[in-house]
């Protein structure tokens, strides 16, 4: 029996190739995920361990920075050979045009020297005095600074200070520094520039003969429990652990997509084995005739799947290595903080997991077909013509499909109308998955009407080949359903993502329009101080003085006593939607509440609410209006008049200043005027509606592209499935094709017939996917508490339909060519 199986495998190797490809890709994706993350993790660990070798003990604060006297105390401890305090604060670097670089202020750090130095220099050297600084590589590149240039950095008092750039450093895997960029000074200058009151870490070197553990004990006894004290090794472990938390998230997301790909691959394998078994009915029956038992037939098919699974999983591991390396180089090209020159890691875990997953999926997918094979009666060997598959939905199928569909809808309904937040979203997605299972079960019933629908046009347009193709597409509903469902999965998820991103984008853009009833907005650079970044309070007045500028409105905002209070900007453009009461009544001693806040406090218009203020103590305010939720920043929990705001919180700088050009036709001129007025305030950031929208668009596009690329694999596998089914069908219909050719169907017509069949299959799969995707996209949006608009990206959805149909045609190219080129006489003779 073993020999028969192996001979069968060799005979069907071409047909099994596509199947193995499906598994190979799936396993490749999953093992690629692990290769990537293992490599990153290993790279991190190497870096941290290298650092740990230099540091015997590291002291980090639990809240406030470590003051200088503690550093001095540490230096004096027995067994300490050296101590180095590390400074980290903000020191906004100005770019070449004199504006603060980036939307978040550059970090200002101290660069250590001596044995405790952990800095990696790309070029140049450490700052040797108060006039010298170093920059991180990424910032240096993007802001076009080179060693030898003069850089300007704002100190804690916002004064411009000039430094000679003496080196470029690599901040390695420090996620914070990678995000903000870093400018490094010697320790004294760093303290001065950032205004830091102490150190965020103190590293100690041990004297000869003192072990890190001993030193740790000494330090602990000296400092007590105020600080966290770790040996170098423990520090490395902690850092590695921190970076792993982020990696775990990446692994989770990637594996989710990997599972989708594997599920699609499983469908493809299931289908392939089913078809192979159907085609080999005679062979099986013959084996049974000559005495093979059911068990032997079952085992031979299973063995076949084991061989296919093992080979393709092994190939998948190779693909995974390639994918992992590719992803890593892509990541480091986009300056993601990953160890770039790490050696690719293929851990035993990856190997075992890849092989096991691939093998398991293949074998499990082959079990049902194998069981089907055992049902072949020996008598089937004697029948001349393979019987046409007829399909009737059995009671069991109808009931289970009904339960799944109803259950999925029920879960989703609960998610929409009962739950909300993350739980709601997850429940809705769970409901979607259950509903989808129902669709898979009921699929064979849907195929016939759907392909009649999708085939309506081809039937009319393409004549006899068109009609035959549409008939063929629903000839074996089970096979067609499994084939198309694989594609449906990909299309559903693509549509879902399209709907959600488009709707969210539309919502954000809508709120941007509300937020930007003006031409420009001016905000302060983030990261400069703890809390809310504020603009200097004289900025609005300066802008009002400009002749090119029309309206200047400012929003003051504080977070105090656990609540956010804002002033109402002047100008009718800033009137948020009112659900009850009236903003016209907002005067001294009154407040407008956001809807949420009013509900939380259980108050309505006319009631009085208390508010803790910094300048006026506790005040009681009369509620005059409740403001609608759903826009991003106008309905602050508490809104009072500007005069009241100053009374309660004193004169603070505005959080935002809105500017309208005096002449709507001369926006550019007024922008230039505003820009020159802001030269004195390098950290003030000017943005226009178009710019902000462009940034959002970019972010959304980026997100969409990443998801699409990740889903691309699942879609590719499902296309392999279509190609596979089609080539197996073509093989099955060899004689039929020959007959049609004999009756006068030309080669192009025969090819066309198969292409149309694939087109119809692709279209059916995509139609179902688009409908489910849109429906559950809507459901997902309903679970988001903020009011989001629901937009169906009609163009994109149509594109998916067209692309799926075309992809089907593409998948049909090879099978169709083979069918058309077969010799008529030879095919007629084949059994």
């Amino acid at each position: 029996m073993l020999r028969t199986t192996l001979a069968g495998l060799v005979a069907h190797r071409l047909r099994l190739l596509l199947t193995s490809l499906a598994i190979t890709l799936g396993v490749g994706f999953i093992s690629g995920t692990f290769v990537l993350t293992d490599t990153i993790e290993q790279g991190f660990r190497q870096l941290f361990t290298a650092d740990a070798d230099k540091v015997a003990v590291a002291v980090t604060p639990k809240d406030e920075d470590i003051p200088g006297d503690v550093l001095a105390k540490l230096k004096a401890l027995p067994g300490v050979a050296g101590a180095q305090g590390l400074v980290r604060g903000t020191a906004p670097l100005l770019d070449k045009s004199g504006r603060a670089a980036g939307s978040t202020a550059t970090s200002g750090i101290s660069v250590a020297t001596g044995p405790l130095d952990r800095t990696i220099y790309v070029s140049g050297k450490a700052p040797g005095g108060p006039g010298e600084a170093v920059l991180d590589e990424n910032t240096a590149t993007t802001r076009q600074f080179e060693v030898g240039d003069t850089v300007t950095v704002l100190d804690v008092a916002e004064k411009r200070r000039q430094f000679t750039l003496v080196g470029v450093i690599d901040v390695g895997v420090d996620q914070n520094l990678a995000f903000t960029g870093a400018v490094g000074f010697d320790t004294a200058t760093a303290l001065e520039m950032t205004g830091a009151k102490g150190y965020h870490e103190v590293d100690l070197a041990a004297a000869a003969g003192v072990s890190p553990e001993t030193l740790k004990k000494t330090v602990s006894e000296a400092l007590g429990r105020t600080y966290t004290i770790r040996t170098g090794e423990e520090l490395a472990q902690k850092l590695a652990l921190d970076s792993n938390v982020q990696l775990d998230y990446l692994v989770l997301v990637l594996l989710l997509f990997g599972c989708v790909a594997m599920f699609v691959a499983a469908l493809v394998i299931y289908n392939t084995f089913n078809i192979l078994v159907a085609q080999r009915t005679r062979e099986m029956a013959l084996l049974r005739c000559i005495g093979a038992t059911r068990g032997q037939v079952f085992r031979s098919i299973l063995l076949e799947s084991v061989v296919v699974g093992l080979i393709s999983s092994a190939l998948g591991l190779l693909v995974g290595l390639g994918l992992g390396a590719l992803a890593l180089s892509a990541l480091s090209r986009f300056d993601a903080p990953v160890p770039s020159d790490a050696t690719i890691a293929l851990t035993p875990r990856t190997i075992v997991l890849g092989l096991v997953v691939g093998l398991l999926v293949t074998v499990v997918a082959a079990v049902l077909p194998a069981r089907g094979a055992t049902r072949v009666a020996p008598i089937a060997a004697l029948r001349s013509q393979v019987e046409e598959q007829t399909f009737r939905a059995g009671l069991a199928r109808s009931i289970s499909a009904g339960l799944l569909l109803a259950g999925g809808l029920g879960l989703t309904a609960v998610a929409i109308w009962v739950l909300d937040g993350d739980i709601g979203l997850l429940t809705a997605m769970g409901g979607g998955a259950v509903f989808f299972l129902g669709v898979i079960v009921i699929g064979p019933v849907l195929i016939s009407p759907l392909s009649a629908f999708a085939g309506w046009v081809p039937r009319k347009v393409f004549g006899v080949p068109g009609r035959l193709a549409v008939d063929n597409s629903r000839r074996n509903p089970k096979r067609a359903a499994t084939t198309t469902v694989a594609l449906t999965i990909g299309v559903t998820l693509m549509t879902l993502i399209s709907v959600i991103t488009t709707s969210t984008r539309e919502t954000v853009v809508g709120s941007l329009d509300e937020q930007f009833p003006v031409d420009f907005m001016i905000t302060a650079q983030y990261g400069r101080e703890d809390g809310r970044p504020l603009l200097p309070s004289e900025v609005p007045a300066k802008l009002r003085a400009l002749p090119e500028v029309g309206l200047v409105a400012e929003l003051r905002q504080v977070d105090h006593g656990g609540v956010t209070v804002g002033s109402l900007p002047d100008g009718a453009a800033f009137r948020p939607e009112v659900t009850s009461g009236s903003l016209a009544a907002l005067g001294p001693g009154t407040v407008a509440l956001a809807d949420d806040q009013a509900k939380n406090l259980g108050v309505r218009v006319g009631d009085t609410v208390p508010l803790d203020t910094t300048e006026a103590g506790r005040v009681d305010l009369k509620v005059v209006a409740v403001l609608a939720d759903g826009d991003f920043n106008q309905a602050l929990p508490y809104t009072v008049t500007l005069a009241d705001f100053e009374k309660y919180y004193g004169v603070v700088g505005p959080a935002r200043v809105y500017v309208k050009a005096k002449d709507p036709a001369a926006v550019d001129a007024s922008r230039r005027a505003v820009e020159s007025a802001l030269v004195a305030y390098p950290t003030a950031q000017l943005s226009s509606a178009a710019e902000v929208r462009g940034e959002f668009d970019e972010a959304f596009d980026m997100m969409f592209t990443i998801f699409a690329a990740l889903l691309g694999l699942a879609i590719l596998i499902s296309l392999l499935g279509i190609a596979n089914t089609l080539s197996l069908s073509v093989h099955e219909r060899t004689r039929e094709s020959a007959l049609l050719r004999a009756l006068g169907l030309t080669r192009p017509q025969l090819r066309g017939m198969l292409s149309i069949e694939a087109l119809v299959l692709g279209l059916v799969g995509a139609m179902v996917g688009v409908v489910i995707g849109v429906a559950f996209g809507w459901a997902a949006l309903q679970t988001i508490p903020n009011e989001t608009v629901f937009v169906v990206p009609v163009g994109q959805v149509l594109l998916y339909l067209v692309l799926s149909a075309l992809a089907g045609v593409l998948a049909a190219v090879l099978p169709a060519r083979r069918a058309a080129n077969a010799s008529i006489v030879g095919s007629l003779a084949s059994s």
Partner: protein, 247 residues
């Protein structure tokens, strides 16, 4: 033995030979055959197994290429035609009945009958259609799928299909090979009637002397050569001739 050369021949083959394979493995299936088939006649091709009957039929019908020689169907030399031209010629002028698997399983009997006409984009001659359906005796089976028909009924549908497109010639390769003698007889008498009543030209390959006796003329093949023929055959005369050939 004289070669019949009919001016009204529907199909004429001249010096037809066909070799499969090359060198040592070469099989000479046909070794120079000259034969013609008269319009409106029912001709049977007989011969021992492996003598080249099927090969001859395939070459005559343009289903297979020839190694040398020429085949004329009407005024067209089909050995010079491209695949596309051949396909169109088959569509317009040739009907087929094979031993088995004649029908498309997805189509009903009626759709199968109309299929060649539809492929050619022609309208069915409704009078002819009715007459053929009547003669075949399938009126009440027209909406059935092939899987719901008996073997004999399937073959009769195939014959009806070949007839309704009024081809210049119908080629049948052992059309009764899979049928019992009663169903076989039905199909054969139906073929003969279509020659008598509709003036159809039919060339049929068969093993069975009884089947051959339905024809107007029987030609005999041996080792790829045309060796003799019998006109107005009876089962007995055909049987005798076969015995003689096999001796």
């Amino acid at each position: 033995m004289t070669m019949t050369t009919d001016v009204r021949a529907a199909v004429v083959a001249r010096g037809l030979s066909k070799t499969y394979g090359q060198g040592d493995a070469a099989v000479h299936a046909l070794r120079g055959i000259d034969v013609s088939f008269a319009t409106g006649a029912f001709t049977a091709i007989m011969g021992p197994s492996g003598s080249g009957k099927s090969t001859l039929m395939h070459c005559l019908a343009g289903l297979d290429t020839v190694s040398s020689g020429h085949v004329h169907i009407g005024d067209a030399d089909i050995t010079t035609l491209s695949d596309k031209q051949l396909t169109l010629l088959r569509r317009e002028r040739i009907g087929f009945v094979f031993q088995a698997f004649n029908l498309l399983p997805t189509l009903t009997a009626e759709q199968n009958i109309r299929l060649p006409l539809e492929i050619a984009g022609r309208q069915a001659d409704q009078v002819l259609m009715d007459r053929v359906v009547e003669t075949v005796g399938l009126r009440d089976r027209l909406s059935h799928k092939p899987s719901q028909l008996s073997g004999g009924q399937q073959q009769r549908v195939a014959v009806a299909r070949a007839l309704v497109s009024k081809p210049q010639v119908i080629f049948a390769d052992e059309p009764t090979g899979n049928l019992d003698s009663r169903s076989g007889a039905e199909v054969l008498s139906f073929l003969r009637r279509s020659v008598r009543e509709l003036g159809q030209t039919i060339v049929m390959v068969t093993h069975d002397p009884v089947a051959a006796s339905y024809a107007d003329r029987v030609v005999f093949l041996r080792d790829g050569l045309l060796v003799s023929e019998v006109t107005q055959p009876t089962p007995q005369s055909v049987h005798d001739m076969l015995l003689k050939l096999e001796a």
